[in-house]
Symmetry: C2
Subunit: 283 residues, 2 copies
């Protein structure tokens, strides 16, 4: 038997992965959740048919969504994570001794519980004593919270479905207000390559640029995401992600990482010309 | 009717592209050659079923395989190009007024003739007066040539099939001997991500490191190549590709490029940790 999972990147392109076995599939209150076992990528899971994380390369996404901010401000203590149900972002954050508090707000508890069962590699640190889990809408959480955070990471699905509100002006404004004066906002930013992703990227940029003093974009090679060319946003009140990197300080911590390093950090903010031009577009 | 072209990245992963029409298909003396028309990528062509170039993103590959060397040594005059049958590399080289002579050695004349017919976008400058076309084996050409080149670009297919000899110790040694004291060798280096490509990358590195004084690797996002994470080698007798970049001089030429820029140039040599580690592996 040949059993293939396919993800469409547009009406005219798709990536297909040979699957040994579907481990689980369910419709939660929010979305369709599936786990698969494959030879090429080990276990992987999808939400509404879109790739979220694979055992083979989740390290790339999770390295890039966490360490970049921590190398700019190694003094970060309080972190808010929105989305990130597989736990990989929290796992990376718990490696920092300075971090005292991690609030993780995930709308869909089923994603967390299933990742604990099927992806223990990413969900391994959700029981760390510094982590508090909130199963609620991130949009409402940031509207009501009275906390101050040094870092907010928006590790969401795409702007269609349950993640939609996490790409709005209101949401970014609330995030800004919850951040300390040294605050940094990191969010996954889609891809510049296929039409649908590119449009979302442009819309996201327009909003964040209006709210934050400093707003930059960095890139990574994530072969299991559409086009493999994935972007992240770095927005902050005072830190420039390149000029203000504390490379020595970060390297002295001795964290081992398979993708991230401080040279790559600087390099990742140098974008192709066509991507720089997209950033200036208006929709 | 649904008509899909698929390329297997391993036994367990494939990318598929919806095709409007096959424009041409033939078996030459060397390989299978196909041209397709598609909505997503415009026209594209494949050799032995592997993607070579698409109208949508050939600019990425051709920018990165040419401009990087020219920004390190804008005084380059004599260039040898091996492979590169679609003409895109030569097209970019002809934009430099300093360049006096371009020898292009392509084993398969049919690739050139068919690209002239079906991909005029890439093959547009093959009749430039500075260009000489040699339809012969690059391996033999470099063994017999008495020329001196400032730049050799190896724009080959993968190390399986007609391109195989272009990944050998003998070939790299002959290239070294044809290079001037300021000489630079650029070659496409496969991808670090899927097993087969990764092994070829490691083998290539081992050889080039033994021959050239300076040898570095740089990366680009090429969504239509396996994994989208593609590497190039920069080897030279005296120039370091990062320390010796003449960014102002290159920018003053005023060349418009959609992917390459001098910030990206520097950034592209900062590789992920797992790729740096691969470079040190022995097979």
């Amino acid at each position: 038997m040949e059993f293939w999972y396919s993800e469409s990147y547009s009406d005219n392109v798709k990536l297909s992965i040979k699957v040994d076995k579907q481990l689980h599939g369910e419709q939660s209150d929010f979305q369709r959740i599936d786990f698969f076992e494959s030879k090429e990528f080990g276990r992987f899971f999808t939400l509404d048919g879109l790739m979220m994380a694979t055992e083979k390369d989740e390290f790339i996404y999770h390295d890039m969504i966490t360490h970049t901010a921590l190398a700019v401000n190694p003094g970060i203590r309080n972190v808010l994570v929105i989305g990130a149900g597989d736990g990989g972002t929290v796992r990376e954050l718990t490696r920092y001794k300075n971090i005292e508090k991690i609030h993780m707000v995930e709308i869909d508890e089923r994603v967390v519980r299933l990742c604990e069962e099927y992806l223990p590699l990413t969900a391994s640190k959700l029981k760390d004593s510094r982590v508090s889990l909130y199963f609620q809408d991130g949009l409402e959480f940031v509207k009501k919270s009275q906390e101050k955070y040094d870092l907010i990471i928006v590790d969401s699905t795409d702007p269609i479905g349950p993640g939609e509100g996490l790409f709005t002006m209101d949401f970014y404004t609330d995030c800004y207000n919850l951040l300390s004066d040294e605050g940094i906002l990191i969010n996954q930013h889609e891809s510049p390559y296929y039409d649908k992703d590119r449009k979302e990227l442009i819309r996201t940029r327009q909003k964040i640029k209006k709210i934050f003093e400093i707003s930059r974009v960095y890139q990574a090679h994530i072969p299991t995401y559409p086009s493999g060319h994935w972007l992240f946003g770095f927005a902050s009140k005072k830190y420039d992600p390149v000029k203000d990197i504390k490379a020595d300080e970060w390297n002295n911590m001795g964290l081992e990482t398979k993708y991230y390093n401080t040279d790559l950090h600087v390099g990742s903010f140098a974008l192709p010309t066509y991507v720089n031009e997209l950033m200036e577009e208006e929709l």
